[in-house]
Subunit: 227 residues, 2 copies
Amino acid sequence: MNRLMKPGARERETLLNSGFLASLGVESVAAMMEIAVIGNLPARQMLFREGEPADMLHCVLSGYIRLYKLDPDGREADVSLYGPGDLIGASVVLDGGRYAATAQAAEPALLARFDLRRVRDIASRRPDLALALVNIVSVQLAASFTSLADDRLHTAPQRVSRYLLDHCPADGKATSFRLPYQKSLLAGKLGLAPEALSRAFSLLRNHGVNVRGRLVHIGDPEVLKRV
Amino acid sequence: MNRLMKPGARERETLLNSGFLASLGVESVAAMMEIAVIGNLPARQMLFREGEPADMLHCVLSGYIRLYKLDPDGREADVSLYGPGDLIGASVVLDGGRYAATAQAAEPALLARFDLRRVRDIASRRPDLALALVNIVSVQLAASFTSLADDRLHTAPQRVSRYLLDHCPADGKATSFRLPYQKSLLAGKLGLAPEALSRAFSLLRNHGVNVRGRLVHIGDPEVLKRV
DNA sequence: TACGCGTCTTGATTTCGATCAAACAACGTA
DNA sequence: TACGTTGTTTGATCGAAATCAAGACGCGTA
């Protein structure tokens, strides 16, 4: 990761809204800001690799970071996807362990980094930081449980429907919105091959879903719930 | 959960070895012991259900607790399995949220329960407790990532091989051991139907694995690694 | 506007595991 | 020991998605 620097006004702003720092008291925010380093990561570049000693905590400011595991043959399985405001779950390794997966920029990304030892130092003096970390990791654990169950219980079109419903206003009316990233990335996040995602979209046409490029139009969310 | 009581000598002993309390300082251990309540849960009984407001933290003293999610048709997908010494991950909801999955006793279990509000109180005064929780949940998140990737990358016989290798001494020699629970439970943990587990075991016979009841004999771990 | 590359879609095939159904084994109890 | 319950195995079938292989589309650049 290159172009390391102290956070400027924009970065501080984003960090403050990040859900991570948002729940902290002012002193803890200041302490974290103090040790924050900003850096950017070009597309496709690795942030860290599975098995490396974990020494940094990462928070995404912009772009998307894909977290995946490899099998011996080099095939990849995505386990998580982090966007603006997200703390990268696999980075929260306060006990001097190793990263549990590989993190790669799915598109050019801006990140805040924190030295893990210093984070632990601060957390051992300021319980609000430690508690915020507990909450964040718990929420991510719950999300991981949901993915695991979804994989085992739902078909590809069902998973895609749920994704669409989660990402559009819940007022029960027709809507359009833009996918935040490439379809191949979405496919990975849903545990599908890109072809399977494509087929799912084409099947969902019969249920009022129209897709052109990254633009999605949903005719009737109620219909979608019954897929 | 019935027969609530204060922890006796045996329970205190188990709790102290639980990996949860093991990493705490003496004062925090004392504070947690203070609020601990012991109870037992008959087989098949629910400890909590997905979506219920979370008010208790649970630690398994003996037996096994199965964590699963339901789909609308009532089908179940196991997302985690907790044994003696484990803190139940879905219970760590310090911010007044809800349980992310349903917990059920897979066999008669003895549990320690802690009121979540009081845990949060203690954690906000004693950072070692909060940090211990961060570590535990992080480890469980990593385990969940592993399951997710395993599901997507490996076949049933491969997943079973990995399980067996993880649960036998790593010295590369032939060994026998006893499965800690029923095969149907193992099947769920591995994301398989019981039939699929059975077929995987029968295929693994060609690779030096013999199973009689819960007794497993592994002829050569090296062979198993190459399945 | 045309070109070229990367992304996405579509088709054909194959593999894996779920599901249904039935036989079988293990175990506690009367 | 006979019985019933519960857990496990085996067989047959089916369906969902991965994979392989082309082709179409979209988009930025010249």
